[in-house]
């Protein structure tokens, strides 16, 4: 059972990493807000850490990446929900 969960985590991690890379591929240096890039960079490194590093380091990398993603984008939420997310 543990092996199945581990394999599932690896597959989902690879899909998440590919998704982050595709988003970064759509960003353009000098056009895209650098903060958005560094947010995704931190998230991607966190996922990569989970995939590549052993459990204590990997878990730390993922949580740190997620934390960096949230903190870097925090300024957009300072005065309420940002534009463009209303349905």
């Amino acid at each position: 059972m543990t092996a199945v969960v581990d394999a599932l985590a690896v597959v989902l991690g690879l899909v998440a990493l590919w998704s982050v890379l595709c988003r970064i591929n759509h960003m353009q240096r000098g056009v895209t807000d650098p903060v958005v890039f560094w947010q995704h960079f931190a998230l991607g490194l966190g996922v990569a850490g989970l995939l590549v590093l052993p459990p204590p380091w990997g878990r730390l990398a993922l949580v740190a990446g997620l934390m960096a993603f949230l903190l870097a984008g925090g300024y957009r939420w300072r005065h309420g929900a940002p534009e463009g997310i209303k349905r």
Partner: protein
């Protein structure tokens, strides 16, 4: 000339890599660190170039991964041998992380830099050339 703010972040990441790379490498294994560094460099490399098709992104990832995994240790040893003053006490392993980041990060600049270097060497050796 002003330097873009995110370049300072890139410099900070590179400095941190030199400082924490060896300890991390000892704890988790050399090739895990190289792979981790390659992913970081590949993300910056993707950002530095124009948007491409997914197929070309995959090609970039595959080719830079092969080169990074194959050459990082060798390049680190060469740099440590040629410019020992660049290597902190402890040896070439200090260079694994920055080299593995730099290979995919500057992937699309290497041909141009190589051409420039060859032109400079030819100019120095044979003189003349473009003035």
């Amino acid at each position: 000339m002003t330097v873009p703010a995110h370049d300072f972040v890139a410099v900070a990441v590179a400095v941190a890599a030199v400082l924490i790379g060896p300890q991390l490498a000892e704890a988790v294994g050399t090739y895990a660190v190289i792979l981790f560094a390659w992913i970081g460099g590949a993300m910056v490399g993707c950002y530095r170039r124009q948007p491409e098709s997914r197929r070309r992104v995959l090609l970039f990832l595959a080719s830079s991964l092969v080169v990074t995994m194959g050459l990082t240790v060798t390049l680190a040893s060469i740099v440590a041998g040629v410019v020992p003053s660049w290597v902190p006490a402890g040896g070439a392993k200090h260079l694994f992380f920055p080299i593995a980041v730099a290979i995919p990060m500057f992937w699309h600049d290497w041909p141009e830099w190589g051409r420039t270097a060859i032109q400079a060497i030819v100019r120095r050796r044979f003189g003349g050339g473009e003035q």
